[in-house]
């Protein structure tokens, strides 16, 4: 099982778009992990003598309205964006798997109640749900993580449930049942591992959306609170000097766009590599 998935992953990386996007994402993750060591300056160091300076040798990506180094803030911002979106999607996936599997496997009243709520939240755009939740929880990173996790919960719950329901009637599951296996065994050893692949691909694509959502909330001042940088908050503060220091808004914008594009490309490559049926047909 694990071997097949590793193989698929390697297959994905070996394609052209998979390779490029994978390399970019790897670099981004390394930058985020090593942010305190990679940043040329502390991200909150104000130097009012060099406000709004264009990119130069001392400040490779220029400085912002307080003379802070934009490169250092971009790197730390990557940390914020990635950690928030990955944590949020992680929570969402785990909760979604548990809820979806329970609903799909057992069905009944519980299934109907959960699905009604899920469909209800799914009928709103994620940004609306997230805004409402942050308004209730209060601005800050914890609020944003919770808001994003709940906003995407519906998607993963539905996906897992559908997978489990179709897998439930497969012959090998019926065989396991007739051998006398318990619910827990069937769910965790046979159903979930087979339902995981599409959920993981969906999670990868959702991470891209979550980065946009995090940036949007940050742009509205609801995400990371100053002086902690996030790409969205950097763009928001950059609007005031759009015409005299465009790099303050353009660079974080570019970072958001590239990250989302590469996440989607990588997700595509992964879909192609994971789809066993397509592979067989090609063979």
């Amino acid at each position: 099982m694990t071997d097949r998935r590793t193989l698929a992953f390697l297959n994905a990386v070996s394609t052209f778009k998979g390779g490029i996007s994978g390399a970019f994402l790897l670099l981004l993750v390394i930058a985020a992990l090593l942010a305190p060591w990679l940043s040329p300056y502390p991200y909150d160091l104000q130097d009012l003598g060099v406000m709004n300076q264009a990119p130069s040798m001392t400040h490779l990506l220029g400085t912002d309205e307080f003379g802070r180094d934009v490169l250092s803030r971009m790197i730390t911002g990557a940390r914020t964006s990635l950690s928030v979106s990955i944590t949020a999607i992680g929570i969402s996936v785990v909760l979604g798997l548990v809820l979806g599997a329970t609903c799909g496997y057992f069905g009944g009243t519980f299934d109907r109640i959960v699905m009604t709520v899920v469909d209800l939240t799914w009928s709103f755009p994620e940004i609306l749900i997230a805004l409402m939740l942050v308004a209730i929880i209060g601005p800050g990173l914890e609020g944003v993580v919770i808001a994003i996790a709940i906003a995407y919960l519906a998607q993963f719950t539905r996906l897992t449930r559908t997978q489990i329901m179709s897998l439930k009637s497969e012959t090998y599951v019926e065989a396991t049942v007739s051998l006398g296996a318990g619910h827990t065994h069937i769910l965790f050893s046979h159903l979930l591992p087979n339902a995981l692949a599409p959920v993981l691909v969906a999670a990868m694509l959702a991470t891209g959306d979550a980065i946009i959502l995090e940036a949007t909330l940050g742009f509205f001042g609801l995400g990371a609170q100053p002086p902690t940088p996030s790409w969205g908050a950097m763009m928001s503060s950059g609007t005031a000097q759009l015409f005299i220091a465009p790099w303050v808004i353009l660079l974080p914008g570019l970072a958001v766009a590239l990250t989302v594009v590469f996440l989607n490309l990588f997700g595509d490559a992964l879909i192609a590599a994971l789809d066993v049926r397509t592979k067989l047909r090609e063979a």
């Binding site: 009012l48 406000m51 694509l205 609170q225 100053p226 503060s237 005031a240 000097q241 015409f243 005299i244």
Partner: protein, 529 residues
């Protein structure tokens, strides 16, 4: 949101934006029309009734005339009152009115109007303006007398305020509660055609106008015949509207936009000295700012010069006391002014038992020096908060910034939940000290919660026992010196008032008159052909 939905929604947005730009109303539809954008501090005025409103916009200055006008140097000039004199004891004021003045509804303006008008303030939020007046005596059709309960040298300032624009008695009484919303009738250079709260007000020139005050070159009807005043709360949006010609003039431009304005050939701007001060307000009822030494150290840690340079682009003045610098009351003992002194700030905290920990943050009795700094979401407030955050780190204070919209900030202040807040006021009179620091105004507007017996005693003397303007200046100086010694605020900055306009649409006089860009200057603005 999947990718397809994302692409569809972004392309819809782009399309919508494109269409919006294409169909946007041009600002110069006719030869003598103009569109102004109200300053953000005036956005949301719910009524144009000067007697009962608590927030008025420039609209009130254009629809109504006042007895007296105030100029940029804080001097007073006759308008509907041609002349006035005060008795030696300050107990009677006699006014001579201008003749031939008519309201928009055709009613004459005379001494009877005043006799109707002053009692109307009773029970309104603006009652304090005329509180010192016992009664109005009509001398003849064009002169009257105020008989005073007590001498009030500040009455002249009140008479020049926007809240003392004179409405038509007939229209006022007829309209009842809806006055100021559906109808607003004065003697001013503009009639109000329509008013929708939070959106826009449309004014048309009063062609019969011939009683302009001596601050204006144009004493007759204004040059702009149809004036729309739009309310755009977001400064960036307003700025883009100005750049693209959607509006002719912005009545308030945050300083951070000035460099961009200067770079644009079509845009020019005018400035007037500041009307207000940006400051940090302490909540003395909550830890740690109930401690005098923490307040003092915080006030001394604020580097006004750095904020002046970074947040305000070097425009305006640094503030070292609470009042705007054009007021005589602001000239307090220089030794008492609050100036940046990091070494002293640290020394004060050291000696009062706040020890620095390994992370640079101070603690006392196991409690860390961690505070919340409340600021509203406008750019200049947010940026001030960020610079202050970095400056207070230097004295070992860990500052968490909390950003709210203006209404929520005021809510928080009213509940006394804040610790430290970035605040700004616009008021060109020393009685602002009473407003923000009198014990009678706790919890709001006195959100410091300060209860000092000596302070209140000095406040009473300044507010109620000053007989002449000179005496009032001395008394208010003493009052402020007491407040400063208690470190109830940390003054930061006195911004200038910036007005930006599109040169291809409007011709604005080089030198503006009046304390703000109000009636005296608006009637002189011409539309470029």
């Amino acid at each position: 949101m999947n990718r397809r939905k994302f692409l569809v929604s972004t392309s819809m947005l782009t399309l919508a934006a494109g269409l919006g730009l294409a169909t946007g109303r041009p600002a110069r539809a006719g030869g003598t029309e103009a569109v102004f954008v109200l300053a953000s501090s005036e956005v949301g005025a719910a009524s144009q009734d000067p007697i009962r409103a608590t927030l008025l916009s420039v609209v009130a200055m254009l629809v109504y005339d006042r007895l007296i006008e105030q100029d940029v140097d804080q001097s007073y000039h006759p308008h509907l009152a041609q002349s006035w004199e005060t008795s030696a004891d300050g107990k009677t004021w006699t006014f001579k009115l201008r003749q031939g003045v008519r309201f928009h509804d055709g009613e004459p303006f005379n001494a009877e109007t005043i006799a109707w008008w002053i009692p109307k303030f009773k029970g309104s939020p603006n009652e304090y303006l005329v509180d010192a007046i016992e009664r109005v005596e009509v001398v003849d059709e064009h002169s009257f007398r105020f008989v005073m309960k007590r001498a009030d040298p500040n009455l002249i300032y009140n008479l020049a305020s926007a809240f003392m624009g004179i409405p038509s008695p007939k229209s006022y009484d007829e309209a009842g509660d809806s006055y100021g919303v559906t109808v607003a009738v004065g003697t001013g250079p503009y009639r109000m055609e329509s008013f929708s709260v939070g959106q826009e007000t449309v004014l048309v020139a009063n062609e019969e106008y011939s009683w302009g005050c001596d601050l204006s070159d144009n004493k007759a009807a204004p040059h702009i015949k149809r004036l729309t005043l739009r309310e755009i709360p977001d400064a960036s949006t307003a700025f883009l509207e100005l750049k693209t010609g959607g509006v002719g003039m912005l009545l308030g431009v945050p300083s951070q936009f000035l460099p961009q304005l200067e770079a644009d050939d079509n845009i020019s701007f005018r400035s007037l000295p500041g009307m207000g001060v940006t400051y940090l307000g302490f909540n003395t009822r909550k830890e740690p700012f109930n401690d005098h030494s923490v307040r003092q150290a915080t006030a001394l840690a604020v580097d006004q010069a750095a904020i002046h340079k970074s947040v305000f682009n070097g425009v305006g003045l640094e503030s070292h006391q609470f009042l705007i610098s054009s007021l005589a009351e602001s000239k307090i003992d220089p030794a008492l002014e609050i100036h940046h002194d990091l070494a002293k700030a640290n020394e004060i905290l050291d000696t009062s038992g706040w020890q620095r920990g390994g992370d640079g943050i101070r603690t006392k009795d196991g409690k860390p020096l961690t505070i919340k700094l409340t600021a509203q979401s406008e750019t200049s407030f947010k940026r001030t908060a960020e610079v202050v955050q970095a400056q207070l780190k230097a004295i070992g204070m860990d500052v968490e910034i909390v950003i709210f919209d203006n209404t929520s900030v005021v809510d928080q202040l009213k509940k006394g939940e804040h610790q430290l807040a970035v605040r700004h006021y616009d008021w060109n009179n020393a009685d602002i000290l009473d407003w923000f620091f009198s014990t009678t105004n706790i919890p709001y507007p006195n959100s410091t919660g300060w209860q000092g017996e000596k302070s209140q005693e000095l406040r009473d003397i300044a507010m109620q026992q000053s007989k002449t303007p000179e005496e009032r200046v001395v008394n208010f100086r003493k009052y402020q010196e007491n407040l400063i010694a208690n470190f109830l605020f940390a003054p930061i900055h006195e911004p200038v008032q910036n007005y930006a306009f599109n040169k291809t649409l409007l011709d604005v006089p080089e030198k503006l008159r009046g304390t703000q860009l109000v009636q005296a200057s608006v009637v002189d603005i011409k539309v470029v052909d």
